[in-house]
Symmetry: C2
Subunit: 164 residues, 2 copies
Amino acid sequence: MKCYGFGMKLSQGVEWMLHSVAVIAQAPAGTAVARRVLAENYDLPEAYLAKHLKALVRAGVLVATTGPTGGFRLARDPAGITALDIVEAIEGSAPPFTCQEIRQRGLAATPPELCRRPCGVAAVMDRAHQAWRSTLQEVTVADLVKLTPKPLRDQLVARLSSGR
Amino acid sequence: MKCYGFGMKLSQGVEWMLHSVAVIAQAPAGTAVARRVLAENYDLPEAYLAKHLKALVRAGVLVATTGPTGGFRLARDPAGITALDIVEAIEGSAPPFTCQEIRQRGLAATPPELCRRPCGVAAVMDRAHQAWRSTLQEVTVADLVKLTPKPLRDQLVARLSSGR
Ligand code: FES
Ligand code: FES
């Protein structure tokens, strides 16, 4: 699927889920956060949020629990989940640049024996993507929680403990 | 315009134009490369290529000349044009992540006085985008030319000199 002419765009789900996973990380130990609570937290459409929560479960970032106190909890320690894990769970891990090997076409066609490695253009586009990934990989959910102002964290923990 | 669910995608024009600008950089001094020559070089659809060439002229990367020997030449030294200039001419410079300030909505709403700076999530997404941009900014068209195998460059220069 191509998205010609709109430029690179990340879905709104990235913002929702980076914030929502940080919320889940603040739930009292052993408790899950209900989807309704996550939706109300930032006033997000619950049906659409469900899709993204599912993607995070599939990616092994969250675990879904069922029953009256069911919901979502982290699949592992917040210091072991990176922003990249969350972004790629939602957007997939395909790089935004795809080389169509145009160098092997037309009058300028490079002979196959000179095409064993990616060309210079493909290499720089890949380097840029890896730089983007590295930055997101250096930030964990534990870091994102710490970046939230303390009074807000206290409020949130109080609300999550009361189950509302 | 949003492109939900397809992930980040760069248009094929990025590959075309990074390669084509490197071709134009190899034209004999003072000569322009015709659009037809650029299209034939990598077997690219000429009408679609025209759209991207126009974007590069608008961005001040290329200059269009008219008349029987008209075509495109670099607007400045190849060492002064970066891969980023070309990519952003085609894709625009809007970052792929847009913060919708969800932190100010819902039950978890952050009071405005705590929202004077971007939140931690927006900050990390911005950092990743800047890392991507920096990588592309470090590579110039002169570098891309040098990354092309020498025999291919010689062939190209011979063909461009003959105007075919
Ligand atoms: S051939 Fe695809 S980027 Fe060079
Ligand atoms: S409020 Fe938009 S990314 Fe945090």
